[in-house]
């Protein structure tokens, strides 16, 4: 039985297929890396002319290297041993004497993107769940360790490479425009033979790196306070590639040292713990944290919701068809459509199957609060809707709101707590604390007329949000603390390096600390 990588030589092409055993997504563990390395070596010895790395999991190329491994590695010796085992696999793939192609379908995150970067060519499926994202810095507060800081700037240029390292999320179409991928196709199985024929006609060339277009560097001062130091380190590592006499091996060694300096910090531990908060909120919402892509889904969007219809059109998913209400599986409408799982957007509608609020439609990952009418939790009947929204790039959260959506309650609480302070002070202090405020929320906060500076605005923001979240937990509107933490993060950009709103409040000296500890079940 394999851990998650098999190899097959067909027509002179070595196909390395990733399929992590027992997981709904591909996880690139040391065991999988070892298998890939062995299969690659065997395939090359058998005379492979090209290597294709592909995934068997629908919707996931590679999601990560195993957060459990990263979060529990505190012994430098053991962690480095593990990192070197993985790095060896990346280096073997990069050093293959024949062209290597990553065929990407689904999430291509972190070390998965780094694996794709070691390949000469990348082709991707044209679907919204083909996403490219480096979560290391933004979500886990450490430096990537498998070559992203060295390979991205050389492929995309310093500006675009750094943006990606800082957590910019790219869909497949944008990735093509930037030059991260070489070809986009609606169906990889059909596109791959053509791509390989092209390579064969050119004599199986390896890729030659060209000088990438230079785009402006992101302003590091605009980043939330806790991310700035990491961003500077990423920039320093990226700039190594511009030095005269640069050697990739030296850059990779420097990057690994940077990873080790940043991975064991309190910030990174808290940030990694937020992954579990996010997934626990999902598990409490629909009964499972696993990733499942519906095979086929017909979705109807009412004419009264043009903004939502536009978002869905921009975010195509394989197997999902937008169309009329008749025969649809899911409908977004104002009123219940008989025989269809209907989601009423904008207000709480008792006759629909669920109601939804989309308070920040302009965000890259817009949060969307879903309220099932039958109040069932977990809401298993709503799982297809939840998974569809998640894969279409929304951040769904399920609540049992009555009268008012919890999202609205939290946003109002934050606004009320900060309305007496000068808006510039609010923005700068919250940014320094780590809040990544959505633009629409930043506009609402503080007052332009207020001149008197106020003290501890970040503390007041945390307290106001936590107070409202605890109220929602106490009145049963939210069923689990993770949902409150996730809502605060999605709506107000609450920093992951603080480890979740309620834990942050519980550890503070504010009057709300005791209540926060109570809802968290802490002594």
């Amino acid at each position: 039985m394999t851990a998650g990588c098999t190899g097959a030589l067909r027509g002179g092409i070595l196909y390395l297929t990733l399929d992590t055993r027992g997981s709904s997504v591909n996880v690139f563990t040391p065991a999988v890396a070892l298998e890939l390395e062995r299969e690659l070596e065997a395939g090359l010895e058998a005379g492979a002319r090209a290597v294709v790395v592909q995934s068997k999991k629908p919707g996931s190329f590679i999601n990560g290297v195993g957060l459990l491994l990263a979060a529990s590695s505190h012994s430098e010796e053991a962690a480095m041993e593990r990192a070197h085992a993985l790095q060896r696999c990346y280096l073997s793939l990069a050093a293959a004497p024949v062209p290597t192609i990553a065929a990407i379908e689904g999430n291509c995150y972190g070390c998965g993107l780094e694996l794709a970067l070691t390949c000469d060519y990348r082709i991707a499926r044209d679907s919204y769940d083909t996403h490219f994202y480096m979560p290391e810095l933004r979500d886990y507060a450490f430096i990537p360790l498998f070559g992203a800081t060295q390979r991205l700037p050389r492929l995309l240029g310093l500006g675009a490479g750094l943006r990606l390292l800082l957590g910019e999320r790219l869909d497949a179409r944008r990735a093509l425009r930037l030059g991260l991928i070489d070809r986009l196709a609606p169906d990889l199985r059909k596109a791959l033979p053509g791509f390989l024929s092209g390579l064969r006609a050119r004599g199986w060339p390896k890729r030659e790196l060209r000088r990438p277009p230079q785009r402006p560097l992101p302003r590091l001062a605009d980043l939330p306070g806790p991310e700035r130091e990491l961003a500077r380190e990423c920039l320093r590592l990226s700039r190594l590639t511009l030095r005269r006499g640069y050697r990739l091996e030296d850059g990779l060694r420097d990057e690994l040292a940077g990873f080790w300096r940043t991975v064991g910090t309190r910030d990174s531990e808290r940030a990694m713990s937020f992954f579990f908060i996010r997934q626990a909120a999902k598990a409490h919402a629909i009964g499972s944290a696993l990733y499942r892509r519906p095979e086929r889904l017909k979705v109807h969007v009412d004419r009264s919701l043009p903004a939502l219809a536009r978002l869905f059109r921009l975010r195509p998913l394989p197997g999902v068809q937008l169309g009329p209400a008749a025969g649809a599986d899911i409908a977004f409408a104002a009123k219940k459509i008989r025989g269809v799982l209907t989601c009423a957007v904008g207000s709480l509608q008792p006759d629909a199957d669920c109601s939804a609020l989309l308070p920040l439609a302009g965000e890259d990952v817009p949060p969307l609060e879903l309220v099932p009418t039958n109040r069932e939790m977990p809401w298993r009947a709503g799982a297809p809707l939840f998974q569809f929204l998640e894969q279409a790039g929304f951040a769904p959260v399920v609540s049992r709101a009555r009268g008012r959506f919890v999202s609205k309650r939290l946003l109002d609480a934050l606004t009320a707590a900060l309305r007496e302070a000068p808006s510039a002070q609010v923005r700068s202090e919250l940014l320094e604390f780590g809040f990544r405020l959505p633009k629409a929320v930043a506009r609402r906060l503080g007052s332009r007329k207020a001149r008197r500076r106020q003290k501890n605005l970040a503390g007041r923001a945390v307290e106001a949000l936590a107070r409202e979240a605890i109220r929602a937990l106490d009145d049963g509107t939210l069923v689990h603390p993770s949902q409150a933490d996730l809502l605060a993060h999605l709506l107000c950009g609450f920093p992951v390096v603080r480890g979740g709103l309620l834990r942050c409040a519980a550890g503070s000296k504010s009057p709300i600390a005791r209540s926060a500890r109570r809802v968290l079940g802490q002594r």
Partner: protein, 197 residues
């Protein structure tokens, strides 16, 4: 049974104190991280290691070099437990808890008892582990290597444990408390949950 000489090395780093029990510095037979700088916790962990992973203060007997029976009731620093243990600091000068003795201590692992919450942990693990692997759910099983759980399944485990125990459970603290992924065992999880009670 031939008694096995044991030396304890305390390595203090930015993330707490790393304790190694072994015959030489590089080859520990047991490794465990003490995250709290306080000696009490350090002593607890040390006692747990030496006395068969049982809770400090448990009634498990311990055989020492001279064949003497001793109950591990005290934290590190109290002579009757620490006598014979060599605690050395390899990184930053003498460890505050330095206790040395010319006679190396030998500890025999007593027969292990199942942790108090092991049945609850096993009940929560069963639906998440493949049928063929279920018989591997023992206290010593590693949730990664033996049971094949990934981070998403650990989230599901959290939800199931919350149902079993009827209280919120936050496993990232457990995950961060170990020194190496191999230490994420069923037993360490049960002990963590007991501590959180």
């Amino acid at each position: 049974m031939t008694p096995r000489p044991v030396r304890v090395f305390a390595l203090r780093g930015p993330r707490g104190t790393l304790v190694r029990v072994g015959q030489s510095e590089g080859k520990g037979i047991e490794r465990i991280a003490c995250r709290s700088p306080g000696l009490g916790r350090f002593g607890d962990i040390l006692a747990m290691m030496l006395f068969g992973m049982s809770e400090p203060g448990d009634d498990e007997p311990v055989r020492r070099g001279g064949g003497e029976e001793q109950r591990p009731r005290c934290p590190l620093g109290r002579a009757h437990v620490c006598k014979g243990i060599s605690v050395e600091n390899s990184l930053q000068g003498p460890h505050p808890a330095r206790v040395s003795n010319d006679t190396p201590m030998t500890a025999r692992r007593s027969r292990k008892r199942e942790p108090e919450l092991f049945p609850a942990v096993r009940a929560a693990l069963e639906p998440l582990v493949a049928k063929s692997l279920r018989k591997r759910i023992t206290p010593q099983a590693s949730i990664l290597a033996d049971l094949g759980l990934d981070s998403l399944k650990v989230v599901e485990l959290t939800v199931l444990l919350e149902k079993e125990l009827g209280r919120p459970v936050f496993l990232p603290e457990w995950i961060a408390s170990v020194n190496d992924p191999a230490e994420l065992t069923v037993e360490s999880l049960a002990l963590f949950l007991t501590e959180q009670k």
